[in-house]
């Protein structure tokens, strides 16, 4: 497919989307969303930069990707590396790592989101995936495991470094965040989410891991 670069006036800055994807209710699956939440809480950007909690949305994100010249994705990715490893992947390699992951909207993978944007003739010129190898996914209502949580700020540093190459610099926040498209409701913020979790004695947590393991090799 020919990839159409969006026409820009000479000095117009590129459209930049910083996207966190995943489900905050499933432990390390929430990494991408938590990284964007943390970034938005500490830096602000100009009007050409969007910060988005993409959650597990599929087709909705196609439109966001079509708008984008420079795409930065935070996500939990199975690289086959030791748990808690942070790794960046750039450019044409990105879809390969997102390929098998079934995000949502009826298992629309993010690779599919990229493919649909491509099919519509609008594809980001630059892609960066900042992924962390998860420790635990199958813990409904659980939060990030410590090694994964420890990757949030290094991940943000990688993003800022990459964005600097496009002349984009986050300013430390003075209470006036930049162009936020969507961030988790305060009730879902990392602290509230973790402190409000029912105890294991109150609400039984087992179930999913066993059955997924049971069917995994079927």
């Amino acid at each position: 497919m020919p990839r159409t670069a969006r026409a820009h006036a000479m000095n117009e800055p590129p459209n930049i989307l910083i996207l966190g994807i995943g489900n905050v209710l499933w432990a390390d699956e929430g990494f991408g969303v938590r990284a964007v939440e943390a970034l938005a809480g500490r830096y602000r950007f100009g009007p050409n930069v969007r910060l988005l909690d993409g959650g597990t949305q599929g087709i909705y994100l196609v439109d966001q990707v079509r708008w984008t010249d420079v795409l930065v994705v935070f996500d939990a990715v199975d690289y086959g590396l030791p748990p808690g490893t942070l790794k960046r992947v750039e450019g044409a390699e990105v879809p390969r790592f997102l390929g098998a992951k079934k995000m949502s909207l009826h298992q629309t993978g993010f690779q599919e989101v990229l493919a649909l944007a491509d099919l519509l003739g609008e594809y980001p010129q630059h892609l960066l995936l900042i992924g962390v190898q998860p420790v635990e996914l199958d813990d409904f209502g659980g939060s990030l495991r410590p090694p994964v949580k420890a990757c949030i700020f290094p991940a943000i540093e990688l993003a800022l470094e990459f964005l600097a190459g496009f002349g984009v610099h986050g300013e430390p926040l003075d209470g006036n965040p930049g162009r936020l498209v969507d961030l988790p409701d305060p009730a879902l913020s990392l602290d509230a989410y973790e402190s409000g979790r029912p105890s294991e004695a109150t609400a039984c947590r087992v179930g999913d891991p066993r059955v997924l393991a049971a069917f995994g090799g079927a």
Binding site: E29, A76, A100, K101, D118, L119, F140, D185, V211
Partner: protein
């Protein structure tokens, strides 16, 4: 060996077992096993929800006013409808009345979801069960243009446009990057459309993909943000100031006009593209009459889209409420979600324990105690199941029943109920479609009927959207700009203990949340989602659920290509929600069909 179920189906589990796992292009994890007879006709079907979820696990002890934000995250598709159901449950428990504008805006949010979800489901999740994308490459663009112009006045229909789409598709396929088209069984003899109809559908797949982004802007206007709009117990978190200016801050006349123009364009798209395509595709599949399942016997709807605020009577619901059992369309029965005898969940075939598993439990008394055991006829091991034993426990989905009956929920259920009640805005479009296609009313009870009901409902929803948008503007102009009632916001105003139920008709069917509040905190929270109804396993009496019933007696053209199975399952728009599980770059991608 064949057995007859109490709800009238014959099951025969001899013959070849075929396993489809996972079922793709759906939300969540679903496995299906079927038995094919010597003629490759399905004679037994077993639907297994392979994933466990209990909302109480995340909600117990939390603030009921925050529950919507959590329920919005359990699923990537029904975000808003779970949130709405949740705030309704809390308001019901606490006796909170909402302003008229809040009811209208909630209806607008819900109808926007219906319109958007149905459109996206048809083109991007379901059409590929009927449309052979690769065959579109062989189409003559000029003949495609003639076909398109014969069925609709939609302006984008020139030979040049279809040639352009075909070239784009060709480049896409040749690049080896099949992306969304990767999982198709292209060339399967169960595909019946001529190349031109396939190309027209692919072109509209792209147009719909481009257009759908317009519809969701309505959520941003009233919900403040997207894809996860804000909700509020007591109303809507949406200030309105007709005289305000600018794109931020309170909703003003400019924003209301934006919504209005989006609605007009959506009406055009659904009525001029979606519905004509639906009829055109259906006309080639008129003899594919399979997949009716429970729809001609037992259907259920909770009703939704209340005309006026704070009136939960059946008469006040624009989408009809009711239950039909034993195929008696002459009588639509009343549904009461509080009655402990009506809705009950059973676990005899689900991986949970009850003190007495012959009995069902009403959701307010719901117990979620996992118990993962496999029956003696299971093939394989606990960690590598080759074949499930449906004689024992076999699913993580509970089996909800209405007065003991397995029920189908969703667009077809709602439209059968509207039709049976004789409500003109449901009855007349159904009759028109049947007349146009030259089909008897029995044709409604099929996979195609389910798909058609969804299309008719998309059109109904977007026209209702117009109605409620106009109603909102009229009420605002009359001077009422109230959108929230916060008199009971403070927990000190609440009773020590309260329980409530909230419902919606989600795009894919009846959704209920049951909440128990104690000392200002959530004591218990149970959700019965549409796919719990449709995907339910058997109950202690042996009644089969909607998925299993719908698959029976369907011939499969190529046994290791489960196209017909996917076609029928997708027609329910299943949503088993709600996690995303990371797999390796080389991980499982395609639906596996295993013939055993």
């Amino acid at each position: 060996m064949s057995i007859k179920t109490p709800n009238g189906f014959t099951l025969d589990s001899s013959g070849t077992r075929v396993v489809v796992d996972p079922v793709t292009r759906i939300e969540g994890h679903l496995r299906v096993e079927v038995n094919l007879d010597a003629d490759d006709v399905i004679r037994n079907a077993v639907s297994t929800g392979t994933m466990w979820r209990g909302l109480e696990v995340i909600l117990k002890g939390r603030d009921p006013r925050d529950a919507w934000a959590f329920t919005e995250r359990i699923c990537g598709v029904c975000t808003g409808t779970h949130a709405l159901t949740s705030v309704r449950a809390v308001e019901d428990a606490l006796g909170i009345a909402i302003p008229e504008n809040a009811n209208t805006i909630r209806n607008i949010m819900q109808l926007t979801l219906q319109s958007h979800d149905h459109l996206v489901h048809f083109y991007h999740l379901h059409a590929l069960d009927w449309v052979d994308v690769v065959s579109a490459l062989k189409a003559d663009p000029k003949a495609t243009s003639t076909l398109a112009q014969s069925i609709s006045s939609w302006p984008q229909s020139s030979p040049g446009w279809f040639r352009d789409v075909q070239n784009r598709l060709k480049r896409f396929v040749e690049s080896g990057q099949l992306g969304p088209f990767m999982n198709g069984y292209w060339g399967n003899p169960a595909y019946k459309l001529p190349p031109e109809a396939n190309l027209m559908a692919v072109a509209h797949y792209l147009e719909a993909l481009d257009f759908q982004r317009e519809i969701v802007k309505i959520h941003t206007v009233y919900g403040g943000k997207n894809p996860h709009p804000n909700w509020l117990v007591g109303g809507v978190p949406c200030a309105i100031n007709l005289d305000g200016t600018g794109a931020v801050g309170a909703v003003n006349m400019e924003r209301l006009n934006l919504v209005s123009s989006i609605i007009d364009r959506t009406i055009d798209f659904i009525d001029q593209v979606y519905l004509p395509d639906l009829l055109a595709i259906a006309s080639f599949y008129k003899d594919w009459t399979f997949g009716g399942g429970l729809s001609s016997r037992s259907v259920l709807s909770y009703g939704d889209i209340p005309e006026r605020a704070n009136d939960n009577s059946a008469a006040n619901q624009c989408l009809p409420r009711g239950a039909i059992i034993n195929g008696n369309l002459k009588e639509v029965l009343d549904v009461d979600l509080r009655d402990p005898q009506q809705i009950q969940e059973f676990v005899a075939h689900s991986w949970y324990s009850y003190p007495d598993e012959r009995k069902g439990l009403h959701p307010w008394d719901g117990v979620t105690e996992p118990n993962f055991v496999l029956g003696p006829n299971t093939k394989g091991t606990k960690t590598n199941i080759q074949q499930i034993d449906e004689g024992d426990k076999y699913s993580w989905i509970k089996a909800p029943r209405w007065r003991g009956h397995a029920m189908e929920v969703g667009p077809l259920a709602r439209w059968v109920i509207g039709y049976a009640k004789g409500i003109p805005e449901f009855k007349e479009p159904v009759e028109k479609v049947l007349t146009d296609l030259g089909l008897p009313v029995t044709a409604l009870f099929s996979t195609l009927g389910r798909t058609a009901a969804r299309g008719l409902e998309a059109s109904w929803a977007v026209h209702k959207l117009r109605y409620f948008q106009d109603k909102l503007v009229a009420n605002l102009k009359a001077g009422d700009s109230s959108t929230a009632n916060v008199t009971k916001w403070d927990p000190s105003t609440w009773p020590k203990e309260a329980r409530g139920v909230g419902t919606t008709e989600a795009p894919r069917g009846a959704l209920g949340h049951w909440i128990v509040i104690k000392k200002g905190r959530i004591e218990n929270y149970q959700a019965v989602v549409p796919t719990t109804w449709n995907g339910s396993p058997r109950d202690p009496a042996g009644n089969i659920g909607a998925f299993e019933a719908a698959l029976l007696n369907t011939p499969v053209a190529v046994p290791d290509q489960p196209l017909e199975i996917l076609r029928t399952l997708h027609s329910f728009d299943p949503c088993l929600a709600c996690s995303t599980h990371v797999m390796s770059p080389e991980g499982e991608e395609l639906t596996r069909a295993k013939v055993r």
